[in-house]
């Protein structure tokens, strides 16, 4: 089949606007996008830059966007992109600086953040035989996270990173997860502190994009939420997240329902004059528009006593 690739091009260090180069090549029916890129480089333009390593969809090195869809080019069939027209537009992955053509700066986007959480085990002193043996069941929980190969697809799909490049991102949080849940690790509290920020664990919006993007089924979003639960349980939180969580739980415990007015005030912090002052115009506008009744009354659920009993019991069991 004859296919025309429209490939994103950018020269390093040059301010000139990125452009596209067109390459028409002859490919087998089952060719991958990577086959196409290799053919272009071999036959038409030796200066085309892209990454490739394992060539079997494991390492994530060759991630690009084909017709707007993020994929590993080594496993994505060209034919799946040419159903409507024999053209495939190839772009670098989103949200990170492009070094040249399809090669992006993963170092600042992901690896520096993985480094941030001390990506190695700090184990207990090994036994006399030099080993820290564990039953398999003790590792079951992190087997899945251990299978992460840092392809970065979760970071690419993340909804926070496009607005904040310095957010730690789900990939680095999965490294934290792998270590926090390892029974041999001795620095859980420190690890949580490293993971939480600034711009860490509590800045995740739990939008489930990371889980949807993960090719290994690691479910980063669910794990991030579980890590928050664990931090909550262990009392390890930064001030703002802690205030928000405790106020939320207190409200549900008291009345069954969430008291949004109180939550806003308590999340800002009762002694945080600047934060509270910022709420005044918002509250004034909301009241003017009839967003909340005047005087402000939060109603109790008739079942609030039962809900309180359940929460107290669950807290005791999980202490």
């Amino acid at each position: 089949m004859q296919v025309t690739f429209k490939v994103y091009r950018k020269e390093p260090g040059k301010d000139a606007k990125p452009a596209y180069s067109n390459h028409t090549v002859e490919l087998d029916g089952d060719a991958t996008v990577m086959d196409g890129l290799l053919k272009i480089r071999d036959e038409q333009d030796a200066t085309l830059a892209f990454r490739a390593a394992c060539m079997r969809g494991y390492c994530g090195e060759c991630m690009i966007r084909a017709n707007g869809k993020t994929c590993t080019s080594c496993t994505s069939k060209v034919s799946s992109f040419t159903q409507k027209s024999p053209e495939v537009t190839v772009d670098p992955v989103r949200h990170m600086p492009v070094l040249k053509d399809l090669v992006s700066d993963w170092q600042s986007f992901m690896w520096d953040k993985v480094d941030r959480i001390k990506p190695w085990l700090e184990p207990v002193e090994p036994g006399a035989d030099g080993e820290s043996l564990l039953p398999e069941s003790a590792m079951a929980d992190i087997r899945k996270t251990m299978s992460c190969y840092y392809c970065g697809l979760c970071d690419e799909g993340c909804t926070v990173l496009p607005v904040d490049f310095d957010f730690i991102g789900p990939a680095a949080l999965m490294k934290a997860n792998r270590l926090i849940y390892d029974p041999r690790d001795t620095i859980t509290r420190e690890r949580f502190k490293l993971a939480e920020g600034p711009r860490g664990l509590w800045d995740c919006v739990h939008c489930f994009e990371a889980s949807e993007h993960c090719p290994r089924g690691i479910m980063p979003t669910e794990r991030i939420m579980a890590m928050r639960d664990k931090a909550f349980q262990m009392g390890i939180q930064n001030d703002s997240a802690a205030r928000h969580h405790y106020s939320f739980a207190k409200s549900v415990k008291k009345s069954g329902w969430l008291d949004e007015g109180r939550l806003a005030i308590e999340s800002a912090g009762l002694t945080n004059i600047k934060g509270l002052a910022k709420l005044v115009p918002i509250a004034a506008k909301a009241l003017r528009r009839g967003k909340a009744p005047i005087p402000y009354i939060h109603h109790k659920s008739p079942g609030s006593a039962q809900v309180r009993r359940i929460i107290q019991k669950a807290e005791e069991k999980n202490r």
Partner: protein, 294 residues
């Protein structure tokens, strides 16, 4: 069609207009809702699962006892959090039994795992029928350009939202609804992304940047308004839009309609009846368009 109606916190708090409009629309369409008053917040993804699961089991047990097969919500977050909890209870009877025994037995309750959690949007398509809804339209919203905004939990995770192929359509219900009531779809890339609300206290700047991004995109593409099935999104997209626009250095002023308000306009209710005046961003633009159709 009869449902146990779970109002959620926001429709009884920060967005009373959602409660009013949902009741009006359901009433007009003959969707019977029995409001659950004796229940609690589902945790909204903020409370840890070990607290929220028992609370949700209690809610489900109550709905079962009321004789319902489906629990209807009017909030994406409620749908997602309760849907995920329900999935755990259905998939793992031993876990359900444990929760029943440890937390519900004291009150003489038991959740048998028979319930389905559905958002009003899903009810309209899967139970009521979009063609039937079309037949009820009294005021086709011709010329009104509308952008959809789902809220994360109406899109993901797949296990809850689209557990089988049969439910694949859930990812385009809003677009189909906009066209069905005669309005014009102004599609945006950010329709399935996060509005930023969950991190409003943890990182306000990022939260507002997300709100500005999505409302700004709709505005740039020429939308008159946005419609969302999630009141938490509404709190950010409407309630914080002016601050978000200021931070982004732009003017946006995009009215954000709750799902039942939007449907209600097509059913012939007036903007006053649907309490559009309670919004923070002025809805004048929508009212002008709608009044031209009246």
């Amino acid at each position: 069609m009869k449902y146990a109606f779970y109002t959620g916190c926001v429709s009884r708090g920060g967005c009373p207009e959602l409660y009013t409009s949902a009741n009006k629309v359901a009433g007009r369409l003959g969707i019977e809702m029995e409001e659950m008053k004796d229940v609690a917040c589902n945790g909204a993804g903020v409370l840890p699962q070990y607290l929220s699961d028992p609370i949700n089991a209690r809610t489900f047990a109550k709905a079962e006892r009321m004789g319902h097969k489906s629990l209807m919500t009017i909030c994406s977050t409620c749908t997602g959090v309760m849907g995920a909890a329900n999935m755990r209870f259905k998939d793992d009877p031993a876990y359900r039994e444990k929760i029943n025994k440890e937390y519900l037995a004291d009150e003489g309750l038991e959740y048998k795992g028979s319930l389905e959690v559905k958002h009003l949007l899903w009810v309209l398509f899967e139970d009521y029928g979009i063609d039937k809804l079309k037949g009820e339209v009294k005021r086709p919203l011709t010329g009104l350009r509308v952008s959809p905004f789902y809220g994360c939990f109406m899109r993901r995770p797949a296990e809850v939202v689209t557990p089988t192929k049969e439910y694949a359509g859930r990812k385009s219900y809003l677009e189909n609804l906009i066209s069905a009531v005669g309005a014009e779809l102004t599609d945006i890339a950010g329709k399935g992304k996060c509005c930023g609300f969950p991190i409003l206290t943890a990182n306000e700047a990022n939260s507002l940047a997300m709100t500005a991004k999505h409302t700004g995109e709709a505005r740039e593409k020429g939308a008159h308004c946005m419609v969302t099935p999630c009141p938490l999104c509404h709190l950010n997209l409407d309630g914080n839009q002016d601050r978000a626009a200021k931070q982004a250095g732009s003017e946006i002023d995009l009215p954000i309609l709750h799902l039942p308000q939007f449907v209600g306009l097509a059913l012939g209710f007036t903007p006053e009846e649907l309490e559009l005046k309670r919004h923070i961003v002025s809805t004048k633009e929508v009212e002008t368009q709608v009044n031209m159709l009246a």
